[in-house]
C-alpha cells in the first residue's frame, strides 16, 4: 500500500487513538520505521491526544510492580523469593537441545585468566559462534560476591525490538533467568544462592532471543542462540 499523505494522516491518528489494530497496525509500524514524515505525524497525535491522559485520576500502583521491575532489570531479589513464582512447568528439555543444535553454532570453551582475580574466580568460559573468530562474550564467576561477569567482546546488538536473555540451564528442571544482557562493556549479575548452586552443578549457560525487556513468562520464549559450558579454573 502506498504511503499517500491522506493515508499517513488518518493511519497516524488511528494508530495513536488505538483503533488501528491487527495486521494494519503492524504494517503501519513498518511505515514508522521507514519514514520520518510518518513518525512526525504520530508524534503530533501523541502530543495532542496525550493531553487527554492528563485528565485521568492518579492511582497508586501496588509496590509489587516496582519489585518486579527491579527484579527484571537488575535481578534484585525481593523478600519471599517471588522470582520463581511465575515459573511454570511448560519448559521441557528436548526442545532446548533441538533448538540449540538447529542454531548450528559451535559451542567451544576457552579458559579465561583474569589478571587480578584468579584466586576468586571459580568458573569461566566463553560464548562463541562458528563464523566469528573472537568470542562473543567472556564469562567469569567470582565466588566471593556471587557475581557472574559477562564481558562482551564480539557480540553484536540484538535485532530491533529484541533483547538477549541469559539463563542457567540446571541439571534438572527449568532454566533460571539471569536477566537480559547488554552488548558492550562489562555486565555483572549477582547470583542468588539457588542460582549459584544450580550453576555450580550444571556449569551450563544459555542465551535466548527475547522480546524487549526479556521473556514475559519467566521461561525462554525465543530461539536459543547459544549454549556454553563453563570450566572450573
Amino acid at each position: 500500500m502506498k504511503k499517500t499523505p491522506e493515508r499517513i494522516e488518518i493511519f497516524s491518528a488511528e494508530y495513536v487513538l488505538g483503533t488501528l489494530h491487527g495486521a494494519a497496525r503492524k504494517r503501519f509500524e513498518r511505515w514508522m520505521m521507514e519514514s520520518a514524515k510518518v513518525r512526525e505525524e504520530v508524534w503530533f497525535w501523541e502530543q495532542k491526544l496525550g493531553l487527554l491522559s492528563l485528565e485521568v485520576q492518579e492511582v497508586t500502583p501496588p509496590s509489587s510492580v516496582w519489585s518486579s521491575i527491579e527484579r527484571r532489570l537488575w535481578q534484585v531479589e525481593s523478600h519471599g523469593g517471588k522470582a520463581q513464582s511465575r515459573a511454570n512447568h511448560r519448559w521441557f528439555w528436548p526442545s532446548w537441545s533441538v533448538m540449540a543444535t538447529a542454531a548450528a553454532l559451535v559451542m567451544a570453551v576457552v579458559l579465561l585468566q583474569p589478571s587480578t582475580e584468579v584466586s576468586q574466580t571459580q568458573l569461566s568460559g566463553a560464548i562463541v559462534q562458528a563464523d566469528t573468530s573472537d568470542p562473543l562474550w567472556l564469562v567469569s564467576e567470582t565466588g566471593q560476591d556471587n557475581l557472574l561477569k559477562m564481558r562482551s567482546v564480539a557480540a553484536s546488538a540484538a535485532e530491533a525490538g529484541k533483547d538477549y536473555e541469559l539463563w542457567i540451564v540446571p541439571e534438572n528442571g527449568q532454566p533460571l533467568s539471569l536477566g537480559i544482557i547488554p552488548v558492550g562493556g562489562l555486565h555483572e549479575v549477582t547470583l542468588t544462592d539457588k542460582a549459584r548452586q544450580a550453576l555450580s552443578q550444571s556449569r551450563t549457560l544459555a542465551i535466548s532471543l527475547e522480546p524487549l525487556g526479556g521473556s514475559k513468562t519467566g521461561q525462554p520464549t525465543g530461539p536459543i542462540l547459544h549454549v556454553a559450558k563453563l570450566y572450573e579454573l
Partner: protein
C-alpha cells in the same frame, strides 16, 4: 496546568540520568510518575492485573529506551504515557479484553470539556484541545473519547453506539481529520 515547567524539567533531568543507566534516578522517576501512568492504564484496561502488567512493561521499556527520547516527541511525561498506553493496548488485544462503554460513558465525554481542573489553570494546549473537541459532532467526539479512554475497537464502538461498523469508522475518521484541521497551527 497539570504539570508545571519545573516538574517537566525534573523529569527531563531524571530521564537523562536514566539514559546513563542511573538506577536511583530511575526509581525517582518511577516514584514521580507511576501513579499518573497507572491511573491511565487502569482506566484504559478496566482490569487491575492487566494494568499492573502494562505498567511494569512500560517501565522496562522506559529504562531501555530513555536514550531515544527527544523533545520532538513531546514532554517527558507525555512520552512515557504514550509508551504505557501502547503497552496497555497491546496487552488488551493480546488477552482479548472486551470493553464496553459502560455507565461511565457520559462522564468521559464531559471530561474532555470541563474536567476536574479549573479552566484558568489549564495549559494552552489542553484548552485548545477542549475547544476543538467541542467543534465535533456529538457522535464523533463520543467515538474518539471512548476509543482513547477505554481502548474500544471499531467493532466494540459499533456495539456500544448501536450503529453499523462503517458508520462508526467514518465518524472516527472524519472526527479525527476535523480535529486535526482545528489543532494545526
Amino acid at each position: 496546568m497539570s504539570q508545571s515547567d519545573s516538574d517537566q524539567n525534573d523529569l527531563m533531568r531524571l530521564l537523562v540520568a536514566v539514559s546513563r543507566e542511573d538506577h536511583d534516578a530511575f526509581q525517582q522517576l518511577y516514584q514521580s510518575v507511576s501513579s499518573r501512568i497507572f491511573g491511565m492504564c487502569l482506566k484504559l484496561a478496566g482490569q487491575r492485573d492487566l494494568a499492573e502488567d502494562a505498567l511494569q512493561e512500560a517501565f522496562i521499556q522506559i529504562w531501555h529506551r530513555a536514550r531515544e527520547y527527544h523533545t520532538d516527541r513531546g514532554l517527558p511525561l507525555g512520552w512515557m504515557m504514550s509508551i504505557a498506553r501502547y503497552r496497555t493496548l497491546d496487552m488488551m488485544r493480546a488477552r482479548k479484553v472486551r470493553r464496553s462503554g459502560g455507565e461511565e460513558h457520559l462522564e468521559y465525554v464531559e471530561d474532555g470539556r470541563e474536567g476536574p481542573l479549573d479552566e484558568s489553570l489549564r495549559s494552552a494546549g489542553e484548552a485548545q484541545l477542549t475547544d476543538c473537541l467541542d467543534e465535533l459532532s456529538d457522535v464523533q467526539r463520543d467515538s474518539i473519547l471512548l476509543s482513547y479512554y477505554k481502548g474500544l475497537t471499531h467493532d466494540e464502538l459499533a456495539e456500544v453506539l448501536s450503529s453499523p461498523l462503517g458508520t462508526v469508522k467514518s465518524w472516527i475518521r472524519r472526527g479525527l481529520m476535523a480535529l486535526k484541521r482545528c489543532l494545526e497551527p
